[in-house]
Amino acid sequence: MATTATAPGTKLWGGGKSPFNVEYGKLMMWYFLMSDAFTFGAFLISYGTIRFSTNGWPDPNEVFKSFPFAPEGVHAPLVFVSIMTFILIISSVTMVLAVHAGHNMDKKGVVRNLIWTIIGGLAFLSCQAWEWTHLHHEGAWWGANPFLNHDGTASSTNFTNYFFTITGFHGFHVFSGVIINIVMLIMTLTDQFEKRGHYLMIEKAGLYWHFVDLVWVFVFTCFYLI
């Protein structure tokens, strides 16, 4: 106590300043994302547990082998999903650039990069919509699995149930991320942040968007690669 009284500025928890050196909203966004990480983690671990408790599992390279506008029997495993992955990585990069421009109070840069991020998000959602439609036409849906296990034995519906639930949950996050980014864009265009004197709100939206990208890294690996 005596030391904090004599030198209040030097102690992290001495009061008078934020001990985490971040604003309240950003800290709460981090905690929200942590709870969201547990939700996605629970989904993916449940998927892993079921997969470990089953003898056979469909081969992702057979299931996800199609490509838009390609002829019916085309065999292009991993190609479409890698495009989706790169779209999300690039949109994450443009989001970082938007946050960076916000730090420098560069309104034009924020607007430009936010628009690119929104376009990336919409492109990803379109890809996912195509993939879902395609799989649905092949007979895959919740409770229906037309695919065989990798070794040719009959498969259960666990595969499609988990696939649609988890990619659907992620897709919904991407959708809300796009909405948040559009709100940010409108707020930037109407000079709300200029009036406030800072673009910290963009930073919070950015955290959410990066989290969506982060989750895709895990979903992509768990469903398409391994």
Binding site: F20, G41, H100, L148, G152, A154
Partner: protein
Amino acid sequence: MEHTAEHQEHSGGGTKEIVKVTIILTVLTIIELILGFWMISIPLERASFRLAVKGTIVILMLAKAFYIVAYFMHLKHEIKNMIMTIVVPLALFIWFIVAFLYDGNSFRNLRNTYDPHFKEQSTIKVEKKEHDSEAKHEEAKPNGVKDGKQDEKKATH
């Protein structure tokens, strides 16, 4: 003195860092994809080898996650106390993953040992899938009898 230095760093790692991390993420993704394509040609019988490749992919995935969180989400440039409040609770995942996957694996072993029907189902190959629509009908049967839970689901369709 320490804090002022941290303050300056806090305001951003710069465009250079963003470009560097972008390149790292791209390269890691490409390596993952190369491993994924390579795995198509590895026969199922070489199970442990396939598992090793999958393990490598998971390690690359974690590396990607680290770069996104540390640099894009800027966590690396935050104060250590703040990093700890995020990272320490997430350490629960270590227990979570190990315990549940071990449990799933043990459940499969138990069923393979004590449930002959379960074991048999995983050895019977489905005839042949010519067209997707035909394969669906063919599969509907063996699929449904595989285990009780799915039986109910199938019946509603």
